[in-house]
Amino acid sequence: MKVLVTVKEVAEVEDDFEIDGTGVDDRYLEYDLNEWDDYAVEEAVQLQEAGDDIEVVSVTIGPERAEETIRMALAKGVDRAIRVWDDALDQDLLDTATKARVFRAVVEEEEPDLILTGVQAGDDAFGATGVALAESVGQEWAAVVNQLDIDHLLAENVARVHRELEGGVEELTDVELPAVLTIQTGINEPRYASLRGIRQAQSKEIAPKTLADLGLEAGDVESSLFLTEMYEPESESDATLFEGSAEETAAELASVLREKGVGAE
């Protein structure tokens, strides 16, 4: 079995920052593995550890800098990685459809049985790459998966998943492989890369691929979305102070939360 995990190096913004054009000034950014993808990687590695002969491959779209991040996934147990980059991909904003086209080309080459993506990326937060990819490669999908029955998947080739819906409701779904699952945080507890894993990761493959390598052209990655402006909205704060005993303040807090729509009835 082969599992493909899409990962992204995301920019994290410092508390105080400045906007530069349509982005945040690079001086205030740090790059790290997207939080949701960390859970997707962990789920894939757990699957690999539970089964026999399961290969986990990670794929990312990103410049050379992203190798440091993707190597952390290799240190956690991913077998090998693919990094797609091309001058034509160096755009302000890669929209979801474009990313799905690039990943589709990788999927056609790798033919994985299961594709895991994070629910969303912490920076641009479209939350759509996984399902767009599923649509693009014509596979079934389940979004916002917060539980996966690994034994059932290995035995039956069916992903039995819990999906998180609004208001605390959970949906149980069976999805036949091949399929795409978008993984929600909390599905597992992502491990730390072990020191030995970090060492081994140095000799694992990160295959660089250009668009041409994937049979794509610059015209295939022309985004239809463009960033027009970036600004920081005025912030307002509205603080309510509860006074009284713990019981009283807890009850007041609960009623406020209920009014604001937190929790299912």
């Binding site: 440091e68 952390m72 890369a193 020191l195 030995r196 990761a201």
Partner: protein, 384 residues
């Protein structure tokens, strides 16, 4: 000359720091206050492969060099020296086994450390023998195919939680040479006649276990002798460059931790209508702390790099690093408390703990005074 860490080294630093912040920081104050050994953290540290990370891969380690161990130590100690020491000391004494032990001894004593099943220790100091190692009184006499040990050891890290110890003892008192006649023997904690008494009330590194060990006719098989009979002291001497470099790295970590906390508190704390970091008195403190820490770090890296690469005698360098870094650590921790003012004097903030923890780096693995003697001895050409 290459002055940058490799991508792998940066990844190690980043991941160890993340581990320390998530798994150690929230518990540090509690374990310090209660002087208890952090079993739960040790379990997680084992999953990450931290204990015995310098052991060769065939014994469960990652085969990391002295420099990488210094990087790991620095990050752990920057977050909490007490728990950091528990993790980095799990394989204390293993150097002797790695260098002089038989394959059978390595197979028996090393993998349990990296598996997290066991913790070990090095038993050298005694009530009457601290810096003066050759004055130890613990004896081991040969009786048939066994060694019989008698005596007691003081200030032994992991003493009451350890499963076995590499014990320095006198085996050949009749030898004239003051450096000969000592041997290193492994003693398991479950042998009859062995007992350990935990030492409480330490000023700092209180999560780390320290004990007095008592040997009352403890019998171990002759196969527990490490290396050559009579060569124990000379075997031990070989690792001083390495262990002193490691204490230097601990000190750099403590200084780094103190500096980070001082900087962030100075930016946050307001007096006279502005952040105290606007005052030049505070700015100069911060500048000085960071500058001296960086100097200590570079000296420590150089010493670590030298242990790994250089063939010359690097004893002076290791002593310089240990002495200087430990002084910087105590000074930075002192200034960090000063910058925190009253808040630094209670245990709501970490700096008070770092201040207490820092002092040990000027004492163990050879005091500041001993290090200066060594540096001077090397300068004056009296080194051997």
């Amino acid at each position: 000359m290459d002055y940058a860490l490799s991508e792998e080294q940066r990844a190690v630093v980043e991941e160890v720091r993340r581990f320390a912040e998530n798994e150690i920081a929230p518990l540090a104050a509690e374990y310090d206050r209660e002087e208890k050994y952090p079993y739960e953290v040790m379990e997680k540290a084992t999953e990450m492969g931290l204990p015995g990370a310098h052991f060769p891969v065939e014994y469960g380690g990652a085969g990391y060099s002295t420099l990488e161990m210094a990087l790991i130590t620095e990050e752990l100690f920057a977050v909490d020296p007490g728990i950091g020491l528990c993790i980095t000391s799990a394989g204390f004494g293993a150097e002797a086994l790695l260098e002089f032990g038989t394959d059978e001894q390595k197979e028996r004593f090393l993998p349990p450390i990296t598996d997290g099943e066991s913790v070990m220790g090095a038993a050298i100091s005694e009530p009457q023998a601290g810096s003066d190692v050759t004055s130890i009184d613990t004896t081991a006499e040969k009786d048939g195919d066994e060694w019989v040990l008698n005596g007691n050891k003081m200030w032994i890290t992991n003493g009451s939680v350890g499963d076995y110890f590499v014990v320095m003892c006198e085996t050949d008192p009749e030898v004239d040479d003051r450096y000969a006649g000592f041997s290193q023997i492994v003693v398991e904690a479950d042998r009859d006649g062995f007992s350990a008494e935990k030492i409480t009330g330490k000023l700092g590194i209180r999560a780390s276990d320290t004990a007095e060990l008592l040997f009352d006719d403890v019998r171990v098989p002759e196969g527990n002798l490490v290396g050559q009979r009579g060569m124990g002291f000379l075997q031990l001497m070989q690792f001083f460059d390495e262990t002193r470099t490691s204490v230097a790295a601990q000190a750099v970590g403590i200084a780094k931790g103190a500096n980070e906390r001082a900087l962030s508190y100075a930016e946050e704390r307001e007096q006279f209508g502005r952040s105290i970091s606007d005052f030049q008195a505070i700015q100069h403190k911060l500048a000085d702390m960071h500058t001296r820490t960086e100097a200590a770090r570079q000296l420590t890296y150089k010493s670590a790099w030298s242990v790994d690469h250089a063939e010359d005698d690097l004893t002076a360098l290791a002593s310089m690093a240990k002495e200087f870094a430990s002084r910087v650590a105590t000074d930075c921790a002192d200034e960090a408390v000063q910058i925190h003012g009253g808040a630094g004097y209670v245990d709501d903030f970490d700096v008070g703990r770092l201040y207490r923890d820092s002092k040990i780096t000027q004492i163990y693995e050879g005091t500041t005074e001993v290090q200066k003697n060594i540096v001077a001895r090397e300068l004056l050409g009296k080194g051997t």
